[in-house]
Symmetry: C2
Subunit: 425 residues, 2 copies
């Protein structure tokens, strides 16, 4: 069967998956956790094959680390599944219950999106995380993982799918794509797949976005800013900036550009530069910034996402210039202001057009777990549907149910009857 046919069959099963009971979905998660635990040695053995192949192929150690699926990763995904089981069912929530007229009642109720396509680069834990989120939310899922962890993905997928079927979910609620060519086949399934979630590098996500008509949820860039205002408490500023830059440099929510209020720069910037250099951070910046720190000079159009121990620095004339720099050069992900002035903070948070706008804390907080969502599908820099860290809420939509007793529109158009719109909740 071709990919398209398989996904079409999945689409026809999606309403069955969507109407499965919450207990059945939670039971599938429970079984998945048990199977992963019971079969962990087999999983680790498959992962060892992938790691050996990667080493033989000369894959860099930093990337090999991401391919690894060991006791620690297993413990993380099991903890994630347990949290997920404990979360309330996102399906069937009533967000509007309105009597339009006597005997004509409109109810808006949440339901799964349907068929989710997930394409991720080499990170086996992402397979577990996202497939379990899809199960919990009643969605069918097509999963395409990176070929570097093909063996690990295969066994993880098999265990999770077995759990789903054993619990009573439809046979074709979960599908694994293994061939690289299947990515493009999947991207062409715009009548069958309702939403695509890519997880991977900037270039990878950009490729997906440019090559499909299916809605894509995710982010390509993460150029996060911290603006240090003249009213900042400078004793807090250094640790927050060091954390945002160094705590995990490969993350999309790490800070990449520092904007410093010109009037505090001479006092603050040299000590900040020293603190950052102590952590091996390389500084780039405008000529003015270089004069105060000795950093390498680059133009602001060259400020970029380093995903590394490097940061750009620019001096600005207060919060307005900071706002306009961020809205022009940022990626609408997460941007922070450090200030004790509530009015300045309000202006910044109002005007900066990003999913996350922070006052006096690290940009690294932009994360589904840290927001208390229990798990995240990814972080969206789009404004349509879901924005910022996306948890279960991002995997549901809604439908309108209208219960009547023979009503016709003609009666209302002619004035024989009229609506009274009474909200029942």
């Amino acid at each position: 069967m071709s990919m398209k046919e398989e996904v079409r069959n999945m689409k026809l099963s999606a309403p069955e998956m969507a109407s499965s009971a919450a207990e059945v979905r939670d039971r599938a998660l429970q079984l998945a956790a048990e199977k992963l635990e019971a079969e962990k040695e087999a999983v680790f053995a498959e992962n060892a094959k992938d790691l050996a192949a990667a080493e033989a192929a000369g894959v860099a150690p930093a990337i090999r680390k991401r391919l690894k699926f060991n006791e620690e990763k297993l413990a993380d995904v099991l903890a994630g599944i347990r949290i997920l089981i404990g979360l309330p069912d996102p399906v069937g929530k009533v967000s509007l219950d309105r009597e339009l007229d006597e005997g004509l009642r409109l109810v808006r109720v949440s339901c799964p999106i349907g068929v989710i396509g997930v394409i991720f680069e080499a990170r086996p834990d992402a397979l577990v995380q996202i497939s379990t989120l899809c199960i919990k939310s009643g969605n069918c899922a097509v999963l395409k993982g990176g070929k570097e962890t093909a063996n690990t993905n295969r066994i993880l997928f098999r265990l999770i799918r077995e759990a789903a079927v054993e619990a009573g979910l439809p046979e074709n609620a979960l599908l694994q794509a293994e061939q690289h060519s299947e990515i493009d086949e999947l991207l062409a399934c715009d009548r069958e797949v309702d939403l695509l979630i890519p997880r991977g590098s900037n270039a990878f996500v950009q490729y997906i976005m440019n090559n499909t008509k299916i809605p894509v949820m995710g982010h390509a860039d993460g150029i996060c800013h911290i603006y240090v205002d003249k009213d900042a408490d400078l004793s807090k500023a250094v640790p927050v900036i060091v954390d945002a830059k160094t705590q995990y440099t490969a993350a999309c929510n790490a800070v990449e550009t520092l904007l410093i209020d010109r009037c505090i720069a001479p006092e603050f910037l040299p000590s900040l530069a020293e603190a950052l250099r102590k952590e091996q951070v390389k500084l780039y910046g405008t000529e003015e910034a270089a004069a105060l720190t000795g950093c390498e000079v680059i133009g602001e159009a060259d400020f970029r996402e380093y995903l590394d121990l490097a940061v750009s620095v620019k001096l600005v004339d207060g919060v307005e210039e900071a706002i306009s720099h961020i809205n022009r050069y940022g990626s609408h992900h997460t941007d922070a202001i450090l200030t004790e002035n509530a009015k300045t903070a309000e202006r910044f948070m109002q005007m900066v057009d990003s999913a996350g706008v922070y006052q006096n804390c690290s940009t690294r907080f932009a994360d589904g777990f840290r927001y208390g969502f229990g798990a995240e599908v990814g972080i969206s820099t789009g404004k349509i549907h879901a924005r910022g860290p996306v948890g279960l809420e991002g995997l549901v939509t809604y439908k309108y149910r209208l219960f009547g007793s023979g009503q016709t529109v003609g009666d209302y158009a002619s004035g024989r009857r009229s609506f009274h719109f009474r909200d029942l909740t």
Copy 2:
């Protein structure tokens, strides 16, 4: 200035528009209503030019009717604006307020999407409707109307824009595109325009969807179904079907396909056919349907959106076959079941994958005004962001504001601090 430059400037003004006070936006709407009323003779005169040109060009009377902007259309749009002014502000609504830890508070607050591109075929009232919805929701808007009403659009746009600026909204919050070539220019502005709303024919919407990377909200097809179950109250069925088919045939929510439970077909279908023919409705259907009604035979793959006094008919074996026909051939818009059996209705409403699932009423109810939304931007058959009739809610997104006091992620990662996630609302 090129279209792209103009839209880029608009994008940079969008945060200013987004932070405008609700009173200012309502004042702009009030002024717009006053100007439209005061200048109505000038508007009608411009419209007369468009109508004369259309007649000279041989445009069909049915289409010319849509181009008309007269006292009646004016009264409709003024009533719409008055309702809009009375609706609560969709901006600034808090949907999550959570203390993550002592002194670290996360607030999710609704905000305008930013820049909305609206492309509509010849319907001057749509210009007023959508631009006022954008003003109410704090969005900037680029409007491109059909060339058939260029004169009417120009004066309507001028009056609304003057009202916005007089009320104190940004100069470039509203922009009109008048050249046909500007449609493609607008479709290429994927970094500047956050959402596109096309209003027009199936082919027109499809063209937009196929030629842009900007998210599109709308619907191309409207193939709505009514399934008449064996437990239907047949005395209600005929008027509901006649209404759904004939009350306004050009609407996307008019019924296009009738599915009749096989076991009631011999009794019911001949009388239904008679009632429909009395209203000049032409019937098409499967051989079985033809045997009972004498309609023209067509295959179910040829069932289509007629937007006219015509309907397709098919016999099915109960609700399951109805569901699978609808999910396969429908357009996920609005589908109804006629039955007195609550269990059968529940199954239908659960399994049919459409924005609207109705029991015992006409599909023509799928409309923002009839749902009590006050106004609608359009009807979405997509599942991402907004589904079904879309009112003001569909024009806002949200951002996460995080208020801290120097917190770093390192402290939580190392276990020195931990989250307590306390919802404050």
